[in-house]
């Protein structure tokens, strides 16, 4: 997969996530970002810690599959709105897979957790940030 420019990926992610909320004990907006970097490599906990202004030991990883699973699985009790959201999250997941290299999920903190889905692009790192509440 050819690396795409970060600004372009940012736009694509914005469109894919427009109006979507990530559900946990709360509902949080999805905020795409682009971190320019002249020589990007596979994203690491250190990278996320510096952007999140957190300690590296507060950063944990999780698989993309686990992160997306509740959002992309249609349930029999879903109404029309929920079915439409599932489809949009499926598109978002595909967008992440096709636009970002070495994409991973990083979680910062506990209880009120900042979640970064981030991967490498041509000129830096891109992805999106959201929040989950887990008590």
């Amino acid at each position: 997969m050819a690396d795409l420019p970060g600004q372009h990926v940012l736009e694509v992610l914005r469109q894919a996530s427009e109006g979507l909320l990530f559900r946990s004990e709360t509902d949080a907006p999805i905020e795409p970002f682009f971190w320019p970097d002249a020589a990007p490599v596979a994203p690491s906990a250190e990278l996320v810690a510096s952007h999140a202004k957190a300690e590296v030991k507060a950063v944990k990883t999780r698989s993309l599959t686990t992160f997306f699973r509740p959002t992309i699985t249609e349930q029999e009790w879903h109404n029309a709105q929920e079915k439409a959201e599932v489809k949009r999250f499926q598109i978002l997941r595909e967008t992440v897979k096709s636009s970002l290299k070495a994409a991973k999920v990083f979680r910062v903190g506990k209880v009120e957790v900042e979640v970064y889905v981030v991967g490498q692009v041509m000129d830096g790192y891109a992805g999106f940030k959201t929040r989950v509440v887990e008590t």
């Binding site: 559900r23 004990e25 709360t26 509902d27 109404n79 509440v133 887990e134």
Partner: protein, 313 residues
């Protein structure tokens, strides 16, 4: 399920099964460690078909009239993870009751999959999106953290019938801290707990009026040394910790100590009109229910006050 239990399809036997199922749920003669051992706080009644862990009767050829009328404002729904008394007019449970032992804790992880309760009638179901945009968290009554040994049991804690709309400050701070404190009181299996909790009052209603936001959230925890014959072992010296916490925002809640919100079972009964610990002998109830816990376990070695942040046990 043994097929030999249900070789019949005749009406009298189905009625008999119906009676047995209903009486089984109303009977105080429950086995140890059952979620509802200490009593059914509102005498909630199950719909005959809503008992998932008991064998279901064969469908009769002629419909059987329910022996006790179904009350959707006081519906007993029991599952392996917890039992609850559901009130359709509130869109929430009135109470949730569960047993907590060290064996309930493990590494199953969190489900994160909120879902509407399929055991409630369709008209009574609350969806996860009913809380969206309300400003309230989906606050667990029976916590996910009390059910981490088994993926299926953990998944059940994410039922919307196990949620109350709680302010972020209450859900994420004060309520959570008391949940974590109670888990430390397991003391690696030395103790077991019986817990019942719920909300009370109406602050406002959300989801087009379907869901009631309580003005306060309460919890009663009976903490006893691990063992058998729990109903007989609970006596006037058993530790009972009760709290009632306002469903509010602000520093008092976000930075408060759970031990600042101690109360008695009597006060909670007065507030909620529920009958808690009703399966205990009356003299034991009298001894326990007026008491307010000190906020610390009364073990010999001078423990510090436990009201602040705790690590999980």
């Amino acid at each position: 399920m043994s097929k030999s239990l249900f070789p019949f399809s005749s009406l009298p036997l189905c009625t008999a099964w119906g009676v047995i199922l209903l009486l089984g749920n109303l009977s105080p003669l429950r086995a140890d460690n059952q979620n509802l051992l200490l009593g059914n706080p509102s005498r909630a009644v199950p719909a005959p078909q809503l008992v998932p862990d008991l064998p279901q009767p064969v469908a009769p050829a002629i419909p059987v009239a329910p022996l006790i009328p179904l009350d959707l404002n006081n519906l007993l729904v029991e599952r392996p993870a917890f039992s609850l008394g559901y009130d359709q007019s509130l869109g929430t449970a009135k109470w949730v009751s569960w047993h907590l032992a060290q064996s309930d804790r493990g590494r199953s992880g969190r489900s994160e999959d909120f879902y509407s309760d399929p055991l409630l009638p369709a008209a009574a179901q609350i969806q996860p999106n009913d809380y969206r945009g309300s400003g309230y968290d989906r606050g667990h009554v029976c916590p996910s953290g009390d059910r981490t040994a088994d993926k299926e049991l953990n998944a059940q804690t994410f039922l919307m019938s196990n949620m109350l709309p709680q302010t972020p400050d209450l859900n994420r701070q004060l309520w959570r801290k008391f949940e974590e404190y109670l888990r430390t009181q397991l003391k690696s299996g030395q103790n077991e707990l019986y817990i019942v909790a719920g909300g009370e009052g109406t602050l406002e209603r959300i989801a087009d009026g379907k869901v009631n936001v309580p003005t306060s959230c309460w919890k009663v925890a009976v903490i006893l040394p691990s063992g058998e014959g729990d109903l007989k072992r609970i006596d006037g010296n058993t530790r009972v910790v009760s709290v009632v916490m306002p469903n509010q925002s602000g520093a008092e809640i976000s930075r408060g100590k759970w031990s600042d919100y101690l109360t008695s079972v009597d006060k909670i009964e007065e507030l909620t009109k529920l009958d808690l610990l009703s399966n205990l002998p009356l003299e034991v109830q009298a001894a326990l229910e007026s008491r307010i816990d000190t906020g610390r376990a009364s073990t010999t070695k001078g423990e510090q006050a436990d009201g602040g942040e705790q690590t999980n046990g």
